[in-house]
Symmetry: C2
Subunit: 256 residues, 2 copies
């Protein structure tokens, strides 16, 4: 891997520069160095992303190469190293010791948006509950709720989890539907296979929010598995259960 792109959160430019300098000393060709997604050049072997999960989410939609995320402090779900672990990364990089962690995108075709975490339909605070009808090839459900989250396995540890949803390992080929404040106690998540295309119809216009970006108000949209996925390169000893245990305390051995 000799050609690299660097994408960074604007306030981390200094750290990004020091990474670039160290890589150039190792004769790595830095093809782009930017905090603006529009300046991302596609033709690199790998893209380093410096920032939290939000920065990785942003970059992932624009790059075609695998991604390696670096975060200050504790690891995010989508970051592979802390910023402090850059030297460890350099060693792994020189020996090409990585493990591939593939994540699937969804897409909302009406707004031409890719989704790595979740697609959310959400009413205005001042509005009453909305009827949300979900139709897929093999059935349909109606929720009377404040909104609905359609999440990837990647997004299952984000908003869906806050709403009481389950944790999906990244390589489960499925979506999670989790209603927001549903009436009639219908608060459980439903898991659908990811080959289903989901049509959403709401009784009045709701905000359509994809990976945290509000695309305005819609009454109707559809969600399906995208042709795009992204590979995150991980240290060889990475496993997803470790990040669940470290970040959420879930399934951790408290007695060791």
């Amino acid at each position: 891997m000799k050609s690299i792109g660097i994408f960074f959160k604007p306030d981390l430019e200094k750290i990004a520069s020091s990474f670039a300098k160290k890589l150039e000393e190792k004769n790595v060709n830095i093809k782009f160095f930017s905090s603006n997604v529009l300046e991302i050049n596609y033709k690199t072997d790998v893209t380093l992303v410096i920032g939290g999960d939000g920065t990785v989410l942003k970059a992932a939609k624009f790059v075609l190469s695998p991604i390696i995320g670096f975060k200050g402090g504790r690891l995010g779900f989508l970051s592979s190293y802390t910023i402090e672990e850059f030297e460890k990364f350099l060693k792994d990089f020189e020996t090409n010791q990585f493990r591939e962690d593939k994540r699937q995108f969804l897409e909302v075709k009406e707004i031409n948006a890719l989704c790595l975490n979740d697609v959310v339909a959400l009413k205005e605070p001042s509005q009453k509950m909305v009827d949300i009808e979900i139709t897929f090839r093999d059935g349909n459900f109606v929720f009377h709720a404040d909104g609905l989250v359609i999440s990837t396995p990647t997004g299952s540890t984000a908003y869906s989890l806050s709403l009481g949803g389950p944790i999906l390992l990244p390589n489960v080929d499925a979506y999670v539907l989790t209603p927001i404040a549903p009436q009639f106690l219908a608060s459980r998540s439903v898991i659908l296979p990811d080959y289903e295309e989901i049509s959403v119809l709401t009784s009045f216009e709701t905000h359509l929010i994809v990976d945290g970006v509000d695309y305005g108000k819609f009454k109707k949209f559809s969600v399906k598995k995208s042709e795009k996925n992204i590979t995150i390169l991980r240290p060889f000893d990475y496993d997803f259960s470790k990040s669940i245990k470290e970040k959420l305390g879930y399934g951790k051995n408290y007695f060791k």
Copy 2:
């Protein structure tokens, strides 16, 4: 489909007999007629099962043919017709109008048991909480709890649901792990892809219960996807979401 087996819950023998009679009038060859799984003859085109989900669970492990379940009163998740709908079934049977609903088995190799719903590790009522360590290729978790349920998508509407777990559509290729009364608030379900083999190690012996049958006490066992699956034949208009709506009221339109 001209060769049929009939398996029935002992107290439904009279109904089973009347079904057999009507089928013989249509020149159907009844290859076995029993309430004893050991008398199930493998070589039929289809097996009619008269009884609830428990009876279907029992029969499913012994037959190689597709199954059609008949239940008194309301439909079960695994039944395709109510007993009252036998005439409707006969029509579908004559025109061979069925829809296939395939369900995956798990297996617990230490006890040579097949599982269609769930594998449960459960402590004695008088015992303190147990540490349950789950190991799979891509990671591990430890739960401090009364027990743990490892469920198929089929079992996701049974014990796992009672414990707060999500609903999985039958065709999701995954397991659900749902802890029973976990400490440390780690009560969410975890969904794993079904190609993972799961090893379970408990800090003291717990009851190993597969589809409701107690196999005695174990400290160690493993669960993996079986080579066996079972096809349930359904009326053509069946969809799983309908049974969720009818039986649980989940995702139902209350305003129509």
